[in-house]
Amino acid sequence: MADDSRGGFAALDPCVHCGFCLPACPTYLATGDEADSPRGRILLMRALERGELRADDPALGQHLDACLGCRGCEGACPSGVGYGRGLESARERITATVGLPAAARFVLGIFARRRWWRPAVTMARWFRETGLARRFRGPTRTGFLFGMLDATTPDRPEPTPRPPRARSAPRGTVALFRGCVMDGLFDHVHEATRRTLIVNGYTVVEVEGQVCCGALHDHAGDRAAARALARRNVAAFLGQADWIVVNSAGCGALLKDLGHLLGSPEAEALGRSVRDVTELLAAAGPVTGGPVELEACYDPPCHLQHAQRVHREPLAVLDAIPGLRLRQLPGADRCCGSAGIYGALHPEMSRAVLDEKVAAIAAASPPPDVVLTGNPGCLMQIGAGLGAADLPIPVAHPVELLDRSYRAAGWYDPASPS
């Protein structure tokens, strides 16, 4: 069945169209239209491969573009259909024929170029720090964008403490993958990642010359741009540490798959060394911290649970926080509608998918004090959705809470005993 000439399309062969994927698909649940379902899209991809539908067919493009790429269907498929691989090949073929939409080209261009990215981040941070983002957030399209920005606000401003001491046996060296959005707007999560890893025995190193992972480009069908970015990252990270640690599920999924993207042995080897931060922490225990008395809901990012198949580790990390009362709400395993730049290109569908999640959070009893998820897109999307619904519930990355727990234990105090 492995037939390289057919690219990722061969991965669709095991589909017997049983339809068990339908309830796992957020867009099908939103519209009820099989053209917006995994099974329907597989039929479209197969027709594209066989040349029965043209790559520039507008209806084909519309319904494949409307896919979030969450791969929730893969987690429901008894036959192990490689939906993601098929979609990747279909999008590549469509992009090669019709090119990317102008809006996508513009957004992706910003991520790929430092000289555009820097001013964009500076402006975004200014809106966030002046409180204007919070003031302007709301249910309108612009209000939602401000809400996304506001959701990146750290839970409280705090002086960066000195590097903590390890409280666990030495476990090796990890290189921190900084990424683009994470680096620009979630540097507080990077700091929490660094501190909690050090407490758990890891040595964290910084790597120069790293760039955006290219996942957004890859998902949009711009594989050339994704490959160009991936090559620079391989050059930067090769031989730098035992593992590459990533705290963004979307970036982690792409980086773990570097071998597939580039096809070189170095990329393959590097891809194998990539870990989500929760995987490394869970492997170390993690060390139990001080009490954090909170009601929390955990919402697994699609690219962690479906693409990386990491399920248990984030829960193990949160389990190390005494006092935390953790729940998963109905539909927690479903996509929030963020899906990279999807929200910018398909705002209506994105919001329809998000509404279900916000409704579940609003109905939760007791109401959560915080919603946890390990991906920047999801943090911003859910945060903005809560803002738009006037629900004053903050969002946070799981390591931020572990970090708070370690702080509560007093381990970051200058006079902390070892």
Partner: protein, 474 residues
């Protein structure tokens, strides 16, 4: 683009909004199949109504324009029943997915046809109630589709199929008129019209509101997994359990090919892959009854030659055992990209011999046949796995399939237990019904739909409805 009359498309758009009228090739193509891999047919138009009023308006419009139509749920059926051709309008009812009310005291729920089966049980769970019919596709299939097919499922052994759980229906008939069948309180006087409508495979109209019975969640449940060195031994234990008078909640068998496909999937349930067959037995009721019956069933299983018997007592362990069974059909893609699935029912006493015959047919035609079925009901589901690109193989599959069906009928069986006749089993109808019976079925169909525009050319072979004329059987 579709060959649909632009005027019809405009009129449909005026009812549901143009967004919900699918005429582009790519969109219509996504409705070309149901869960059965062997049939495909692209509809002229797919129109997705969002309310009862819209469904009624669509049916009236199509009646006026003399256009045929097919109603569809989630498209998980296994008889090619929910397919429409190039002259026929497809009406998916997935947008009509509201639970209109649950009355815990009367143990009734009123729902729209597009409600997904498993969602109803979830909504009823806080009241300690559930909806009993549980087809394997329950996570995806709609109750409207269940009504059309009289869907079964593992737990129908004890609780009965869909028809035992529907008490009232509000339907739109093919001429656009409305009718209320049955009544929520229970048995109505007069003919059993609910019984007639449930299982009519979309030929009598569209259910707009369905009133169903809910059952109390049993106080105790025990699920046993027994594995056997031969399929015959497993089926013999089934006969012994039923003969004792115990009615298990479910009694399911998976053979080795099936077990291996499931165990390779994300739904791996921990079934032993070296067993020739595994049997799932579920007992429910009061705690004392379940304990007593468990002891008896374990004895029957051991006497029939079970190698090991495992008992799942926690809800999680039970769910895991069941996931493997329920997702087995979907896992068949691991064996080969295409499959034929049958749905014959045979007397339980004939199970051991019929299964031997199926194995023998598989060997003779050199085919992989995976069996997963409702053993307690004698409802077989042999899956013949193949690759459609191999033409010679396709021919062998067709012949083997026919031979298996004939063997089931010869053993005193029937051609479908729960999947329905649809397009797939129409050619087998004359195997079990004489021309007079088939003509009677046509007459009943015409009482509802004189022009036969609702789900046309399915279920009953047309030649029995009109003057007889020879027609090649496809």
């Amino acid at each position: 683009m579709s060959g649909a009359d632009p005027d019809l498309v405009r009129a449909l758009g005026a009812i549901v909004g143009p967004r919900w009228v699918k005429i582009r090739d790519a969109e219509r193509r996504t409705y070309e199949a149901d869960g059965l891999p062997t049939h495909a047919s692209v509809p002229m138009v797919a129109v997705l109504p969002g309310s009862k009023a819209e469904v009624i308006a669509i049916v009236r419009l199509l009646h006026e324009r003399r256009v045929a139509w097919v109603a569809r749920g989630a498209g998980t059926g296994l008889s090619g029943g929910a397919l429409a051709d190039a002259e026929t309008v497809l009406i998916p009812l997935t947008r009509m997915n509201k639970i209109l009310g649950i009355d815990p005291t009367a143990r009734r729920a009123v729902i729209e046809p597009g409600v997904v089966n498993a969602r109803l049980s979830e909504a009823a769970a806080p009241f300690g109630l559930g909806y009993a019919p549980d087809p394997s596709s329950q996570a995806a299939c709609t109750i409207g589709g269940n009504v059309a097919e009289n869907a079964g499922g593992p737990h129908c052994l004890k609780y009965g199929a869909t028809t035992a759980h529907v008490v009232a229906l509000e339907v739109v008939l093919p001429d656009g008129s409305l009718a209320t069948l049955g009544c929520p309180q229970g048995e109505p006087w007069g003919p059993d019209l609910v019984g007639l409508f449930v299982g009519s495979e979309g030929m009598f109209g569209i259910a707009l509101e369905i009133t169903v019975r809910l059952e109390p969640v049993p106080a105790a449940v025990r699920t046993l997994l027994a594995d056997f060195g031969s399929v015959r031994a497993a089926t013999e234990s089934v006969g012994a359990i039923i003969a004792s008078g115990i009615v298990p909640a479910a009694l399911e068998l998976l053979d080795q090919a099936c077990v291996r496909a499931v165990e390779a999937s994300i739904y791996a349930a921990g079934y032993p892959t070296d067993a020739a067959a595994v049997l799932l037995v579920e007992l429910d009721g009061t705690r004392a009854a379940v304990e007593a019956e468990t002891m008896m069933v374990e004895r029957f299983l051991t006497e029939a030659g079970a190698r090991t018997i495992r008992s799942a007592e926690t809800a999680e362990a039970r769910a895991r055992l069941w996931q493997g069974r329920k997702k087995a059909f979907g896992a068949m893609g691991r064996i080969a990209p295409d499959l034929v699935v049958q749905d014959a029912v045979v007397p339980r006493s004939a199970l051991p011999d019929v299964l031997d015959t199926i194995t023998e047919v598989g060997r003779r035609y050199d085919l992989t046949i995976a069996n997963v079925f409702h053993a307690g009901d004698g409802n077989l589901h042999p899956n013949i796995c193949y690759d459609h690109r191999d033409l010679a193989l396709r021919e062998r599959v067709h012949r083997a399939s026919k031979e298996i069906m004939e063997a089931c009928v010869a053993a005193g069986g029937s051609i479908t237990g729960e999947h329905g006749v649809g397009a797939d089993k129409m050619e087998y109808m004359p195997l079990i019904f004489d021309p007079t019976s088939l003509a009677t079925m046509c007459a009943v169909r015409r009482a509802f739909d004189p022009a036969e525009r609702a789900n046309p050319r399915k279920v009953v072979p047309t030649r029995y409805c009109r003057e007889w004329r020879p027609e090649p059987i496809r």
